[in-house]
Each structure stands twice: as structure tokens, then as C-alpha cells.
């Protein structure tokens, strides 16, 4: 039996984030009290604990904070993708998120390289944010 790739277990607080992804938008949270921008969606600001948070749509621009090439898949669900890239992306708005770098030549990937947002349709309900190199350094 081949395992399916994992889907995020969406909850009442994150539904909104994943619904935006379904529309091709990556949303962050902006704190109106202290100005902090955070990823992932929470009921409070993780910087000042205020609760007056509003959505901020990410521009999709960012740069590679770190990356690795996975040579041995976590499960058979990812075997066909090997080698695949897991990266941390620092968004232009400040927060860092984990992603795959897709459609990007392995030899061109380096810390500091500029990336742009794309999506992977993983299921009817889940549209997973992904990134790819745009060339040049942010």
C-alpha cells in the first residue's frame, strides 16, 4: 500500500488561512496593537499578546533562509519526488515559513536567493503554498 501525502489537519482557527490558500492567496496576521506580522494564524499576537489581529495578504516575495535536499523520503508517499527540496522562506513581510522549493534547479538554490509564491493542489480542499526561485538575490 502506498501512503498518501499528508494533509494539514485544518481546525477552527486555521480554516480561514486554508480557505485563503484555496483562493490562491497566502494570508498572514498583522497585529494592530504592536504592528508585528506573524505566520501562522493564532488567536493572539505572539509578540505582544493583543487580540486585535487582521489579515495581511503576503506579496509572495521572499528569500531562502535555509534549505535542504531530501535524498531519502520521509515515507513512500514522497518516494517519487526524491530528491526534493525543503526550505525555510523569509517573507518580505517578515515571517518565516516552511515550504518546498519546486521547479527550481538544485544547483541554483542558495541561502539568500529570491523566491516567489506558487501553489500545489494537494486535495479538493487543500491548496498548499509552495515557492520557486525567481533568480537574483532579494
Amino acid at each position: 500500500m502506498t501512503l498518501a501525502k499528508p494533509l494539514p489537519p485544518v481546525d477552527a482557527q486555521s480554516r480561514h488561512y486554508w480557505e485563503a490558500c484555496n483562493e490562491g492567496r497566502l494570508v498572514l496576521q498583522h497585529c494592530l496593537s504592536c504592528g508585528y506580522v506573524q505566520h501562522y494564524h493564532r488567536v493572539l499576537c505572539s509578540h505582544c499578546a493583543a487580540t486585535d489581529l487582521v489579515d495581511l495578504e503576503a506579496s509572495g516575495a521572499g528569500s531562502v533562509k535555509s534549505f535542504t535536499v531530501i535524498r531519502r523520503a520521509v515515507s513512500s508517499a514522497f518516494d517519487a519526488d526524491v530528491p526534493y527540496v525543503v526550505a525555510l522562506i523569509e517573507l518580505a513581510e517578515g515571517p518565516v515559513l516552511m515550504t518546498n522549493l519546486v521547479d527550481s534547479p538544485l544547483e541554483d538554490i542558495a541561502i539568500g536567493e529570491a523566491v516567489e509564491l506558487t501553489f500545489e493542489r494537494r486535495s479538493e480542499d487543500i491548496n498548499l503554498p509552495q515557492f520557486r526561485l525567481v533568480g537574483g538575490t532579494l
Binding site: 489537519p9 535524498r71 519526488d81 516552511m98 541561502i111
Partner: protein, 389 residues
């Protein structure tokens, strides 16, 4: 109130490690517990506290209670560590507090698992990678080596370090393991061997990664006044400290610094000692770059210089500051949650003395440090002999 010197380890025991298919994780845990009690010269009836960690291969909802039932114990103090790594030393710290507070007098801390033969390889990998955030990390298919590779890549970039610096950690640990007949890995390796081993998650190679093992380990901790009559030289808990920043690596403030800085400072402050006073250290080595970051954050090396420390052989047998004298998770064994407990039993043996070829000369102060999550949750413990009390 200070815990300094209020409790001592009087018993220590490791089961065989590696592939142990004829014993369940429960049986390994029980064997470790009984071995440590026997080593302390006590019987089970003299133990009134029990701490375990859950097993991935054979979990129980109430693990410590299940082990107590199996042993026929009715402990006053009973707790299960939720995870491994730093949590192992956190429960040691808490057991010392429980003793100090009068909740119990003598605690067995016993941990075991069978990651090697008790789980399929895929089940073990999926289980371990569940340390990722279920919504924002796990869907991207990272492995545990992958999470640590993100740290490794950042370390190379921040300090213009080279893969040789990581490899030197593995070589040093293997040299210690070759002096320890109980270690899984007994064949010497070179820097070239590490660099020639296959890539698992760039830049980490197979020999940068710790083992996947079966095995168990246990210690007996008691009140200092009771320890004086023990069968072996007591090993005193001089300091303990914890530090935390994030849980998931994508939320880490830094990829090249860790809360080992705070946990180390807190442990040294309680002990009234400094990094220069340490005769040996057991530093959590799930992957080679983690050792470099922890050494620097603990103040055992200057920032960005831990790689050169290992390249010079300073952490190897006979070096300036021997590191992971049993061979560590890289070369002794790594059964998962119980992994760091072997660093504690080894430290007890070193501070008792008489470890033969791998005895650190005149060892009086030892440091053990572990972390859990992905460079997230840290605990440092400073141990010492009666002379430094």
C-alpha cells in the same frame, strides 16, 4: 532555595544496545530499572519514586504507572516524560525537586525503546518526523534529518564552516565508541569516510546522523544524606537549568543559536561553576552540527570555533575536553526518547572513576546537555564528585 548537592545518583545501568529483538520495550525498561537498583545496592522495596518516558514501539497511556504495575511497585512519586532529549534531564531536575520537597526519597528514572526492531523502518521515520508542525511543516515531507539539515546549512553559511567540521564531530565520537565495548559502532572512521558516506539531507550525510537502536538505561537518584551510605561513590547534582525558544524549526528565532545558552548559564549559576571547570561533557549529538551549536552556546567553545575544536581532536579521547565519552548517539546508541539517559549513566561512571581505557583522568565535574524538538527545548545538568560539593 538551591538544589545544589541536595540529591545524588547512586545507581546506573544500561541494557545491551543495538538490535535486541528478543526483548520488548517494556522488558528493556524493566531490565534497566532493576539493573540500576541493584547497582545502587538497594531493593525495589526501598524505591518510592519512578519516572519513565513513553515508548514509541510499545506505548502506554500511563507509561510510568504501567511499568510500576509490571514491577509490582506502588511509588509515591510517579511521572512519565512526554518526550526524549532535553526532557530526560528535565525529569532528573524535577525528580531532585520532588526529593527536596519530600514527595519521595529515592527515585528510579528508567527509559527504554525498541526503535530498531520494534517498529518498521517507515513507521519509525514517520513517528519521528511527527515532531514537525502538523499543519505548517509535515505536509512538506521533511524528515528529522531534513529539519536538522536546515540548521546545518545555516551554520555553514553563518561561519563559512565546511562539511569537514561536521565530520570531525562524528570521528571524535567514534574514537570514544571504539574504547567502549558496549557501543554499537566499533570500527574507526576518518573524515574522508564521513564525507564519502551517502547524502541523506544535504549537507548531512549518513555518518552525520545518529543511530536507530533498541536499548534502555536507568539511574537511581536519592537524598544526599542517604547517598553517603551507598555502594558506590555518589555523584551529586550540582546544577540544572532549562531554556526554550520555539517548538517548530520554522518558528525559530535563530538557526545557529539555541536556548542552550540560557540552560547552560542557569545550570552553571546553580552549581557555582564555569565552563572552564568542566572535566568532560556529554553534549546531545543527534546530528553532528547540533554539537557545534551547543558547544558554543554552552560556553565550551567560542562562537564559530567548535568545528576547529573537533578538527584538532580536542573533544576526542585524551583531548582537552573529552566530549561524549561513551560514543554518543552517533556511535554508542540512539533508541529515541531514552537516548540522552546513556550520557547520564556514562557521566556517573566517569565520576565514580575506574573506567579503564576511557576514564577521563581526575574527572570531578561533568556536564550533560540535551535538547528536544528541533533545537527547541534544552536542559543542562552539572554533576560532580564529593570533592567539589
Amino acid at each position: 532555595m538551591s538544589l545544589r548537592g541536595s540529591a545524588a545518583i547512586i545507581g546506573a545501568f544500561d541494557t545491551a544496545v543495538g538490535k535486541i529483538p528478543d526483548r520488548s520495550a517494556t522488558a528493556l525498561c524493566v531490565e534497566a530499572a532493576l539493573g540500576a537498583v541493584r547497582d545502587a545496592g538497594l531493593t525495589l522495596s526501598e524505591i518510592d519514586g519512578l519516572v519513565t518516558c513513553n515508548s514509541m514501539a510499545q506505548p502506554y497511556m500511563y507509561h510510568a504507572e504501567a511499568i510500576a504495575e509490571y514491577l509490582g511497585m506502588k511509588p509515591r512519586y510517579c511521572a512519565t516524560a512526554a518526550a526524549g532529549g532535553g526532557a530526560t534531564f528535565t525529569v532528573l531536575y524535577q525528580a531532585a525537586l520532588a526529593i527536596d520537597a519530600g514527595m519521595c526519597d529515592t527515585v528510579v528514572i528508567a527509559m527504554a525503546d525498541s526503535l530498531r526492531t520494534g517498529l518498521s523502518r517507515e513507521a519509525a521515520m514517520i513517528m519521528q518526523s511527527s515532531s514537525g508542525h502538523p499543519q505548517y511543516e509535515t505536509p512538506y515531507g521533511a524528515t528529522v534529518p531534513g529539519y536538522y539539515a536546515l540548521i546545518a546549512q545555516a551554520y555553514l553559511h553563518a561561519y563559512q564552516a565546511r562539511p569537514e567540521h561536521f565530520a570531525a564531530v562524528a570521528v571524535s565520537g567514534r574514537r570514544h565508541a571504539c574504547q567502549n565495548p558496549h557501543a554499537e559502532m566499533q570500527k574507526p572512521i576518518s573524515i574522508e569516510d564521513v564525507l564519502a558516506s551517502r547524502l541523506i539531507a544535504d549537507p548531512l550525510r549518513l555518518l552525520d546522523c545518529s543511530l536507530v537502536s533498541d536499548g534502555g538505561s536507568a539511574v537511581v537518584l536519592t537524598r544526599a544524606d542517604r547517598a553517603r551510605h551507598a555502594a558506590h561513590r555518589p555523584v551529586y547534582l550540582l546544577g540544572a537549568g532549562e531554556g526554550r525558544s520555539h517548538e517548530h524549526i520554522s518558528q525559530a528565532a535563530s538557526l545557529v543559536h539555541s536556548p542552550a545558552r540560557e540552560s547552560g548559564q542557569r545550570a552553571f549559576a546553580m552549581a557555582g561553576l564555569a565552563p572552564a571547570d568542566v572535566d568532560f561533557a556529554q553534549v546531545y549529538d543527534c546530528f553532528t552540527p547540533v554539537v557545534l551549536i551547543e558547544m558554543e552556546d554552552l560556553g565550551l567553545c567560542a562562537e564559530g570555533e567548535a568545528g576547529d575544536f573537533f578538527l584538532r581532536g580536542d573533544g576526542a579521547p585524551g583531548g582537552r575536553l573529552p566530549i561524549n565519552t561513551h560514543g554518543g548517539l552517533l556511535s554508542h546508541a540512539h533508541p529515541g526518547n531514552p537516548g540522552s539517559l546513556f550520557a547520564l549513566t556514562e557521566s556517573v561512571r566517569q565520576l565514580r572513576g575506574g573506567e579503564g581505557a576511557r576514564q577521563v583522568p581526575n574527572a570531578r565535574v561533568g556536564l550533560v546537555h540535551a535538547q528536544g524538538g528541533i533545537l527547541s527545548s534544552h536542559c543542562t545538568v552539572v554533576l560532580g564528585t564529593e570533592e567539589v560539593l
